[in-house]
Symmetry: C2
């Protein structure tokens, strides 16, 4: 068969897998936005059937045939870049899946699901011991998987690679180390500053209907295309991609904390812009999604923090906010509003942390994960180590495990290696911002005058359009000329918080 | 292999097909309720992929193996009733699909989809000639399909059987003949009556938000379970089943015609009750849906007409209506309201017809379909025949084809044989009502006092729970002791309209 025929046949085969994935995504969106509860059990079985199908096809003999044919060195010069990148992803998935014995994978999936419901109970009761045996088993499974993949040293790197391909603990140690060194004293100065901003007016009730209008408006302002998406309400905000023409976001309206709603919406909007702008050439291929968790987070954090928490942005939109708020901000000066939405102090819960302390929360988790897989940390010792690290990095100690080691679903869900991407994304975002302000010297002026199109276009041109055609480090290098470098984030935070807290 | 193992394996195989069907249903619901338009093209491909999968599995060698093994006479006494009925449906689908050459089926599917978009244009321009060549091809395809199925005489019966298994043109001729004989003079008397009710107050604006609350409330009153469903808004109301725990309805709020909204919502609610009450034993099998279009329609019409247009129902709920209407019905007596919502007069558009004239619209279509497939009527003659029949049955002649032969999507969609089930459903509904009022002599009193539970329970016990375990005629016979009999519908209409129009 001619290579072009094999490629056609492979494309067709992969397109079907992507169609199944879109079905799964729709089922998930639906379950999270309002599917009636009595249908959920059967719906989960539907998701199971579709996932099985994706798994079977990704690990089939047919897939192996395509991989063998299209990774053969003799045919490489006949393949397009897209085909080469597609087959790379197909091969990675194939290798990861087929090396794990199916029964073992099945047992792991069941364990994961049980662990997540035990976690809810353990968290409610603030009782780590309930979860401990499950976590121990999950860690054991993960260790076995890493063995199956043939990884001998730095086993944690194999987990990192699933979320942030190419990133290693060695690199992260360097990045996080430098970042921590700058952050800890900055947090201490902020905490002990005498110029603590007043944020009481942020808790005045803000009618949900008005928040909704404001959020719709701001999403449009940042360039979110409502003909290729929709905004719904859920308890936990998220972005989900069906296809680049259908990228949905959700938010959670909070009457007494509208600013969290607004910033959360902009955050999800940042994720969505990435997916809406992926080149249509990539539709139907596994390249048609953000290239990594970290790069994805860099886009959401760019909009949430560098736009949504900036004075320039609110210089343009504060009057609008006042309009929707119906008078409650009429006596609040823009500068006071800006300082209020940037209040920072050490706290226990990662998801509620401010932009300054957030990376330290991630480092606590990173240290623990690394020690679990590269070192000899035992699961039973997690609560103690957690509390020590919190004290070391943030100067506070959780009173119980609910506010400590039990707060996140990631570990009971088996997602070891995921956390670092949150902070890496933030580091990347600051690097992108640095390069962007070089390319667009009057960046702030554009934001102040509401011309966010120039920002979105820049991100789209340098990042979004490529989907997964470029690996995260490649994308970073091509765009900024560097590898991960925390200096720009440190500079940004230092400058901003010195101003806000009059340091 | 032991028979029980074959049955297990068959159940498992069929369950996967049903899971794919649920995915397709969800994609359709989503596309009709608010999927962003830029994602629709790709979403249609997802539906195509899933439908292919259903088709492949329903006509696979594996399926043939199950059918052969489980229809073997020697094993019948080892099979449960459910398995026997399942295999009957699998066999019917298999036989229908495999006899048609795949290329021919594919060409037909494409033609269907083209014809439906041409139909929209033809309807807008009121130009039958645009659609004619497409309809001619569709009819030719259908005739070929019937040949493939080996049907020699009464070819139209093969089409009827797809929507109303077991029903033949012979039976329908008899039922519709008798019904028409009673209806035509009744419609004439109503039309020429001097006691025409006033319905002007029904067009006073009724705020959409209040309609929404009213509809939610009335759906609950008829027993719709919101933990197993949801109500959304679409241009054309519909009911769609994901699984019996997730049966969704939609409605179209019309500020100037709230009563259509209310009755349309109750109609879809009637469909939904049927699906919500199907025995959970049948989940994951092809028996887990209404047994035919006609029986389905009997449930929706039962609630729309016998409940929603009854004086008893509004005796209980008129105060509630007044409450939501904010005063506009305060001076309208219940009896005047009741007469207003039952105004009848001949009209051109089926979907807007009242309950008295509706069956005559169906008969126009039935006569034409039958003559196309059993007789020698040509597609080119449709507009003329349509207008003649309308004049013969309803005494009016459409001024153009948009109001005539082009009004419905069914024929361009290839759905010949579907229309009769609307009127048959109405006939069945009246038969069920007759039997129910024998079982529950104080039926009206229950409706008047808001105890619809007794009605829903009766329908559930005699009809809903069985899903497709019983064929329509079997269900009718078991429940009412008769075959299709239009006398009860005629009696109901005659009595009701004699009262309303003072005949």
């Amino acid at each position: 068969m001619a290579i072009s025929d094999i490629v056609d046949s492979y494309n067709h085969y992969v397109k079907k897998i992507m169609d199944f994935n879109e079905s799964i995504a729709l089922a998930e969106w639906d379950m999270r936005t309002g599917a009636p509860k009595k249908g959920i059990k059967q719906r989960s079985e539907v998701v199971g059937t579709l996932s099985d199908e994706v798994f079977k096809r990704s690990t089939s003999k047919e897939m192996k045939g395509y991989i063998d044919a299209l990774t053969d060195t003799s045919v490489q010069d006949q393949l397009s870049l897209i085909t080469k990148k597609m087959i790379e992803i197909s091969k990675k998935m194939y290798d990861q899946y087929v090396t794990i014995p199916p029964e073992e994978n099945k047992a792991y999936v069941i364990l994961q699901s049980e662990a997540q419901s035990v976690w809810q109970e353990a968290k409610a009761k603030s009782d780590f011991e309930l979860l401990r045996p499950y976590l121990e088993k999950i860690v054991a499974f993960k260790r076995n998987f890493i063995d199956y993949w043939g990884v001998k040293t730095n086993k944690y790197d194999a987990l990192l690679d699933q979320y942030e391909p190419g990133l290693t603990a060695e690199t992260i140690d360097h990045v996080f180390g430098k970042l921590r060194k700058g952050l800890i004293p900055l947090v201490e100065s902020v905490t002990s500053s005498h110029a603590q901003p007043d944020r009481s007016f942020l808790s005045i009730p803000f009618p949900v209907e008005k928040q909704k209008e404001l959020c719709l408006n701001l999403l449009k302002e940042i360039g979110y295309d409502f003909e290729a998406g929709r905004l719904d309400e859920t308890e936990h905000p998220f972005e989900i991609t069906l296809n680049p023409g259908d990228v949905r976001v959700t938010t959670n309206y909070q009457e007494l904390d509208f600013i969290s709603t607004v910033l959360g919406t902009i955050h999800e909007g940042g994720h969505a812009l990435y997916e809406q702008h992926i080149s249509r050439e990539l539709v139907g291929t596994p390249l048609c999604e953000g290239t990594s968790m970290g790069i994805h987070e860099s886009q959401s954090l760019f909009f949430e923090n560098f736009i949504g928490r900036s004075k320039s942005f609110w210089t343009c939109h504060y009057d609008k906010l006042k309009h929707y708020a119906n008078g409650q901000f009429d006596d609040v000066a823009l500068d006071d509003f800006y300082r209020a939405i940037n209040v920072s102090h050490p706290s226990f819960i990662r998801t509620l942390a401010d932009e300054l302390t957030y990376p330290l929360h991630i480092m606590v988790r990173y240290d623990i994960e690394k020690a679990l897989f590269n070192g000899d940390l035992q699961v039973k010792d997690l609560p103690g180590v957690w509390n020590e690290k919190m004290n070391e990095y943030l100067g506070i100690t959780p009173a119980n495990d609910r506010e400590g080691v039990l707060q996140d679903i990631h570990w009971p869900g088996g997602d070891f290696g995921y956390f670092p991407s949150y902070a890496l994304g933030y580091v990347y975002a600051a690097q992108f911002r640095q390069t962007m302000t070089k390319d667009i010297p009057d960046f702030d002026e554009h934001v102040r005058s509401g011309n966010l199109k120039i920002v979105t276009n820049w991100l789209s041109k340098h990042i979004h359009q490529f989907g997964s055609l470029k690996k995260p480090l490649e994308l970073l290098k091509d765009t900024t000329g560097e590898g991960p470098n925390p200096d720009y984030l440190l500079n940004y935070l230092s400058e901003k918080y010195s101003d806000i807290y009059r340091l």
